[in-house]
Assembly symmetry: C2
């Protein structure tokens, strides 16, 4: 199975208030993901607050996650504002045993297409690990065109792209990227739309919910990947309350609170990010899929 | 004169390829700003690529700039993704002799209003220095409402706000923030619109162009602040080619190339940011106001 296919589960990264990774809590979350049937761990994604974690702590996170799994790969987020930083993070992740890399075009001043292209070539060429392009316009202010993805697909280590749910028709979006880059695995994030993405033939579901609820998310992913729409719809319905919260509030703050509710960590979000209020917390408790 | 009034000139921060501040080049730029008649130095703003510079180098930049001026204050940008980092940067800037602070709500995942509020209270309370709220939706994905600014104006050290040019009517925008926060200095960035902002009664022009062209920018600022519209229009016309380039391309890449054209530094932008192409460089040479 391709590294970037199936269900990739993105855990939070439990942190101390001063930004140290709570490696025991992280190992617990990653172990649950493996036991729950996910196909890979998407460590240090946006939900894993990677941009709030300094280099040496990101390295510790990769080491802890790799040490906590025995049969599934760890994909490590390596995004950074500076190209040299992203390269250093890529090498750290490779040194610590990550199986693949996930790179977003993180920016302060929004990046131009040629800047993103050269950044990706430089970082993807820094290790032998397969790399997934992480398209997340909501955090990076950059939108990947199929034409740019086609250029990047010529880089041997670039193996996949993680796309946001499109505003319009998903099958058309998927077809446009397939045509531009037939060699790449193509997956989606935006949990509420990923059942339909898998049913439409996407290769991977990059899932926030699976980081905490790997069992029902795995069942849902299997049903959708096998084309069993009725079963997928049935399993997706258990998540409908959570999807409503994710759509309205974003997944980040919700899933951190859910991890505390489930007793998996006592860590809070890194400031300035705040937790959710009590009314939302009560809605979340009612919406938990397990 | 209030710290955050008049012409605040924002230099680039010359950097080595690995991110060390070229303090001699920086001191030269800052000395030109003082000699050219600006009222303050806006160090480590967006044009100063502060988010690409690590903490110890930002501290060196503040020390070099403070050492290069004798009669005008240095305002230091202290934005960071983490609240504890921004606090540390604020204290570093105070230790090195900065006269004021400039804080943007830097984000990866876009921040909520309460998160921005608490972040600003925490950072503004960490030193005695007056702090300017830096509203820059293009880089931070956050828009300050007058209501939030009114709340923040109750923090004693919060002294000013740096606003982007509004999409609509500037006098109405200025009036809304004046009413919300009468105690604050209110200034604008977006060089091409700042003549009109000063003529409309804004307190400060936060200027990218003045970082490289302090003499004509100071003359323009004086004319506009004194209400001499005809003279301000005449002086602004010398910048019209530059304003066209800023509007079309953003100021960041243009002004870094202009600094090299003028022989003030050989530094390039931090990767992944790239310089401009030769066609644009020729247009820039033709547009230089001096």
């Amino acid at each position: 199975m391709n590294l970037f296919s199936g269900l990739s589960a993105f855990p939070i990264t439990p942190l101390s208030p001063d930004g140290a990774v709570l490696t025991d809590d992280l190992a617990g979350l990653v172990g649950r993901i493996e036991a729950g049937g996910a196909d890979s761990v998407g460590l240090l994604g946006s939900t894993g607050t990677y941009m709030f974690i300094r280099r040496e702590e990101r390295r510790r996170a990769v080491a802890a996650a790799v040490g906590a799994v025995s049969s599934i790969p760890v994909i490590a987020g390596i995004g950074a504002l500076r190209t040299d930083e992203a390269i250093a993070l890529a090498r750290d992740a490779a040194d610590e045993g990550a199986a693949g890399l996930l790179l977003a075009p993180v920016s302060y001043t929004p990046l131009l297409e040629e800047e993103v292209y050269r950044h990706f070539v430089a970082v993807a060429s820094a290790t032998d690990l397969p790399l997934c392009i992480y398209s997340n316009p909501g955090t990076t202010k950059f939108t990947f065109s199929p034409a740019l993805v086609a250029r990047l697909a010529a880089v041997p280590t670039i193996a996949a792209i993680k796309l946001p749910l499109p505003a319009g028709d998903l099958p058309a979006d998927l077809a446009a990227f397939r045509e531009a880059a037939p060699r790449l695995s193509i997956g989606y994030s935006g949990d509420w739309g990923c059942k339909d993405a898998l049913l439409a033939g996407a290769d991977c579901w990059f899932s926030v919910a699976a980081g905490l609820f790997p069992n029902p998310a795995s069942a849902l992913a299997r049903a959708a990947m096998s084309g069993d729409r009725a079963e997928a719809d049935r399993l997706d319905a258990a998540f409908s309350g959570l999807w409503d919260l994710f759509r309205a509030q974003g997944g980040l703050r919700i899933v951190h609170e859910a991890a505390r509710i489930k007793g998996l960590t006592r860590a809070g979000l890194p400031l300035p990010l705040l937790g959710i209020d009590d009314e939302l917390r009560q809605r979340l408790i009612a919406a938990l899929p397990e």
